[in-house]
Symmetry: C2
Subunit: 122 residues, 2 copies
């Protein structure tokens, strides 16, 4: 049983922004000991894209993949674009369990973290 | 002394996505008792834009405004676009203290919250 996390972000023209997401995936990997790997993929403007990211894990023998949409609000990317790419891969690989979490912005802790940010500046 | 928080998000074509940010500002307002108000503004595709959001607070007598860039990665929006709008208003109102926090994705708690999201699905 091989379980993996794929963090899916928007992707940016700025390479350092995409790198920030890759660093985040590495930090998550240190915490996510229940999973065999954590990697990152991008909706657009950066590589690997979502399909490539999923297919790479499947080629490596993944039985289960949890996709974490690293987006703050449920705009069209979260509602349409990301699910569309995932559904394509799901249809090609019905043997792999691919699940998608809520988008990151839906987490309850967000307002408290914003307060912390504000008080850090004030 | 009138202190305010302005949450600045990207903005979406989906009205419900922008509404999600406004709800977040309301949740933050309940926690942020040190501040006189919390409101939201958008870089693009939604109203108010950043300049309008800041100017509204200044018209209401704000002495200090903390801007929270509600973005996950430091792409060009965080590095160029948001600061540009803020600098314009700052130049017009040197009497108001306008400060900008780090972008939300820089918060240390992010990896732990992503793990929580993943375990919620697993």
């Amino acid at each position: 049983m091989s379980r993996h996390i794929l963090v899916v972000a928007h992707g940016s023209r700025r390479e350092s922004s995409n790198h920030e997401v890759e660093i985040l995936a590495k930090k998550l990997a240190l915490l996510a000991t229940e999973f065999d790997s954590v990697s990152a993929a991008f909706l657009e403007m950066a590589e690997p894209n979502i399909k490539t990211g999923l297919n790479k894990l499947i080629e490596q023998g993944a039985n289960e993949i949890i996709v974490l949409p690293y987006f703050l609000a449920a705009g069209r990317h979260v509602v349409d674009d990301v699910p569309e790419d995932i559904e394509t891969v799901k249809a090609e690989h019905p043997e792999v369990k691919i699940q998608v979490s809520e988008h990151f912005g839906a987490v309850n802790e967000v307002p408290g973290l914003l307060l912390k940010l504000a008080l850090g500046v004030a």
